[in-house]
Structures are given as structure tokens and as C-alpha cells.
């Protein structure tokens, strides 16, 4: 993998730090009028998800990380691995529980997800921003409540628990924002 000089730093660049692939969030140059310049960067560690600050001497080089995002359709889980497929080449790829993390609750068969690969292996799975899932469990709500005030918990087919308005009933399909985990609307079946 190529090395990058600090003057190539920009948001989104993938570099290795502390043995982990990282993505640069923000890069700021600090340059005294007389003296060494420094690059202060905020980076997100792509495996642990931690955000840390690092400082480099301007002109230093840093090892790049071979990190790419690919779009793959979710097929199924065998309990140990989550299997995805490239809809164009039909190549399959399996992500382990560590890579999928708590995104399992948003994985719907046939949905196209973004898999982040480091040296070819999945390290993170990002589901679509919106998914549609059926409610398998929720308390019967009160009739006439349409304002959506209050709300109640509802369990979805994947095990995800989402706060829904009182009028939404078991067996209905709802649209959920996976980034916030919030109910968006009912979906007409």
C-alpha cells in the first residue's frame, strides 16, 4: 500500500495508525512563522470506531490503509457469518459478527449494503439509510391517537426494538431510519 505525505491529508483518506485502518475526519495545519509545521488530524479508527487526535510533522509520511467500500446484497446469516453477494458478478463474501456489529438488526434479505473492506476482508457493514421491517410484537395501542405523542416500543422481525406511535399495530410493516434507529412511517402492504 502506498504511503501518504501529510500534504496529501484530507477528509476521507485512509491511513494506518496503531495497527488499525483509520479514516481522516479533519486535518488542520499548524505553522509557526519561524519553525516546524505540524498537521493535527482527527481520525476515526475503522475497527473500534474510536475517534482520536494525532499530530504529525508536516512532510512526514504515513502508511496508507487498503480500505475500500463495496455495495453488496445481504443474502442470509448462518449464525456465525453474514453472507453478502455482488449482484453483478455473483461473488459472495462473508462478514463475521465483529464486522457486522449491532447492524444485524437492520439487515434485510436482498437489501444492498455497503461493506468496508480492509485488505479484502469486511470490517464494517453499513445498511441502507432506510429499511422496511414487520412488527412482530407490540402492545395494542389506543384508538384515535394519531399525533404520535408518547409512543410505545415495538419489536421487529430482526429483533430490533423501535419506538412507534400508539396507533401502529402488530403485523404492520414500518419504515425505519437505520442511522438514528427511529420510526419514519407505516408502509402500505
Amino acid at each position: 500500500m502506498a504511503n501518504y505525505s501529510t500534504n496529501e491529508f484530507k477528509a476521507g483518506l485512509k491511513i494506518m495508525q496503531d495497527g488499525e485502518p483509520c479514516s481522516i475526519i479533519e486535518n488542520e495545519m499548524v505553522k509557526p512563522g519561524k519553525g516546524q509545521a505540524f498537521n493535527r488530524v482527527r481520525i476515526r479508527k475503522l475497527i473500534s470506531g474510536k475517534v482520536v487526535e494525532k499530530t504529525f510533522k508536516s512532510g512526514d509520511t504515513v502508511e496508507g490503509a487498503d480500505v475500500v467500500d463495496v455495495e453488496l446484497a445481504f443474502l442470509y446469516s448462518d449464525g456465525e457469518f453474514w453472507h453478502f453477494m455482488n449482484n453483478d458478478t455473483f461473488e459472495q463474501l462473508a462478514a463475521d459478527a465483529k464486522a457486522v456489529g449491532d447492524m444485524t438488526k437492520w439487515l434485510v434479505e436482498q437489501n444492498v449494503c455497503v461493506l468496508t473492506l480492509w485488505n479484502g476482508s469486511p470490517i464494517a457493514v453499513t445498511p441502507p439509510n432506510f429499511v422496511e421491517l414487520e412488527i412482530v410484537e407490540t402492545d395494542p395501542g389506543l384508538k384515535g391517537d394519531t399525533a404520535g405523542t408518547g409512543g410505545k416500543p415495538a419489536t421487529l422481525t430482526t429483533g430490533a426494538v423501535v419506538k412507534v406511535p400508539l396507533f401502529v399495530q402488530r403485523g404492520e410493516v414500518i419504515k425505519v431510519d437505520t442511522r438514528s434507529g427511529e420510526y419514519v412511517s407505516r408502509v402500505q402492504k
Partner: protein
């Protein structure tokens, strides 16, 4: 940058440009009243700067077989004027530095630089304080030596023989600098890291602060203190999170100047920077005799930023580099 790089509109608003113009006039009035002569030395010159941490932009002239350098400051030419008997002089104009672009840096910027014949560093600092007070309505500056600043904010003596190790230990408490501090072998680099990233942000923002008596290894073009050869008669001014000025009781000894040029070249080589030939004309002027003087350079755009409450330099320039 705030907007797309194809934008044709100015990066500063009209009110800021009016303030900028008013400040240019105030500066000129300030020096006119003090009978300091305005000069405009060449921005395009035969020699560039040897400072290890500055990069000249260079260009070519047709019919000329060597590169020409856009000046990083008017210092060398102004010193030649001083040696020729100009008396006190100031320059308010553009300077160019490659590799400098940030919220506080634009590769082309406006520098105010002046020299006072017969002034000591404290006298020049007092005059700079008056100018800052006039332009920014700032309170009277406070002053800390480099040693006091390190002692106050990092509990380290930068002039002690073991300061390298002590500084590494102190910086280990800052996770964002710890890695770099541990592997850095050059004490000046560690001190610059500490100054720029720890001390500067910690300074009292309500009052302009001079840092004086920099270590001799960071003397640049300042003379060493006659009473303590570990430090140089160099000062900087900081205010509200910005480095505003850098000044010296000027080195007038041609031989020492030549040695510093040579040491600069060695550092440039170690840093992998292109070699810059020493300015022979400056050395010749120093041999002829530079009068005892003190000089300072002030980042004019940063003064405008402070006066207008702007956080990005592009907001005080008609067209910042991405729109130039």
C-alpha cells in the same frame, strides 16, 4: 474552503474590505507621524530565504538562466536599505510562502515589517503594543520569557540540559502529541510543538502576550543576549489565539550571519528541502555595516481577522487562494 472553488464572488464581504482599507490607512498614518519611511522592495528577487522551515515560490524570467524567488518577507532587501543609510523604514505589502495554507495562512498574504535604527527589542515591542492598541483597541500587552512560558504551562525548563527528556515526559500527558513527542529526536522541534499546540492555546486570550528570549538555537536573525548566550533577543506576539508578530534585535555581524546561513543549509538538507543559495548581497551589506536596529514583521491579515472577528483568513482577503 467554505464554498466551491469555481465561485467568482469575493471571499471577504464589503464591510470587512472597508475595515481592511481603514487599517491600511491607519498603519500608514502611524508611521508617517513617526517619520518612518515607507519602502516597497522587490517581491521578485534573485535570492530566496534559507530558513529551514520556509519555502519560496519560484519562477523563471525569459533570458535568465536561474530561478527567481517570490519573497517570503522583505527582510533581506530592507536590511540592505538600512545598510545603505535609509534610516527607519517600513513596508506594508505582499509576501509569498509555499506550503502554507490553513484557516490562518494564505500562500499570498500581507505583511507589515518595520525597522527602527537604535531601538532595543523592548523599545520596538512598546511601539508594536501602541500599534496593536490603535488597530485593535487592545489592552497593553503582557510579557513572558520563553523560559517562563514553558515553566508556567508545562513545568519544564527549556534551557536546561535535560530539557529534551523533560519535554517528552510532559508531552506524554497529551494523547494527541504523545506519539510524535516520543519519536522526535530534535529538541527545537519538540519545543515548537509545545509552543504551537500547548502554550499558545493556553495563553490568556484577553491580553496580547509577548514571548521573549527564544532559545539561541531558534534565534533566526536575532542577536544573542549579551547577558545570557543561551537565549536570543527575539520576541513574538500572540493575541486571541493568533501568532501576530515576530521580531528581533537584529544580528549585524556578517560573519555570524554567514554561519547561520550555513547551519540553515545543513538543516534544509536534513529535512530534505531544496538547497537555497545564501543571499550574497545581504552578506555584502552586512559586511559594509548594518546599523544597530530592531525589526519586526506583523501578519496584517490576522490583524484584520481580529478586528472583524473572523476565524478564517479567507474572510478578510478579497480573493483567497482558492478563488485567486
Amino acid at each position: 474552503m467554505l464554498q466551491g472553488s469555481d465561485a467568482w464572488q469575493p471571499s471577504a464581504d464589503r464591510a470587512t474590505l472597508q475595515q481592511r482599507a481603514a487599517m491600511l490607512r491607519q498603519v500608514r498614518d502611524f508611521f508617517y507621524a513617526r517619520q518612518v519611511l515607507e519602502v516597497d522592495t522587490p517581491l521578485l528577487a534573485r535570492f530566496g530565504v534559507t530558513d529551514p522551515h520556509l519555502s519560496n515560490l519560484t519562477t523563471h524570467l525569459s533570458g535568465s538562466d536561474h530561478a527567481w524567488a517570490l519573497q517570503t518577507s522583505p527582510e533581506y532587501a530592507m536590511k540592505r536599505l538600512l545598510a545603505a543609510g535609509s534610516g527607519c523604514i517600513y513596508q506594508l505589502g505582499k509576501a509569498f510562502r509555499d506550503d502554507e495554507q490553513s484557516a490562518r495562512h494564505n500562500p499570498e498574504f500581507t505583511l507589515l515589517e518595520w525597522y527602527r535604527v537604535g531601538f532595543t527589542a523592548p523599545q520596538l515591542m512598546a511601539e508594536l503594543g501602541q500599534l496593536i492598541s490603535l488597530l485593535l483597541d487592545a489592552p497593553a500587552p503582557q510579557s513572558l520569557t520563553y523560559q517562563q512560558a514553558f515553566s508556567r504551562y508545562l513545568q519544564v525548563d527549556p534551557l536546561a540540559p535535560d530539557s529534551h527528556q523533560a519535554l517528552q515526559q510532559a508531552l506524554a500527558n497529551y494523547p494527541e502529541f504523545a506519539d510524535l513527542a516520543q519519536r522526535e529526536t530534535d529538541v527545537d522541534t519538540l519545543q515548537q510543538l509545545a509552543m504551537a499546540c500547548v502554550i499558545e492555546p493556553a495563553l490568556d486570550a484577553s491580553v496580547p502576550t509577548f514571548i521573549t528570549h527564544y532559545p539561541a538555537s531558534q534565534a533566526a536573525l536575532a542577536r544573542l543576549s549579551p547577558s545570557d548566550a543561551r537565549v536570543a533577543e527575539r520576541f513574538e506576539l500572540f493575541y486571541r489565539g493568533l501568532e501576530l508578530a515576530n521580531g528581533y534585535h537584529e544580528l549585524t555581524d556578517a560573519e555570524l550571519q554567514q554561519q547561520r546561513f550555513i547551519s540553515d543549509q545543513q538543516q534544509r538538507e536534513q529535512l530534505g528541502r531544496p538547497p537555497m543559495p545564501a543571499d550574497r548581497r545581504l552578506l555584502a551589506a552586512l559586511q559594509h555595516g548594518l546599523p544597530d536596529c530592531a525589526g519586526v514583521a506583523v501578519g496584517f491579515d490576522r490583524l484584520v481577522m481580529l478586528r472583524c472577528g473572523q476565524s478564517h483568513i479567507q474572510q478578510v482577503l478579497p480573493f483567497a487562494i482558492d478563488r485567486a
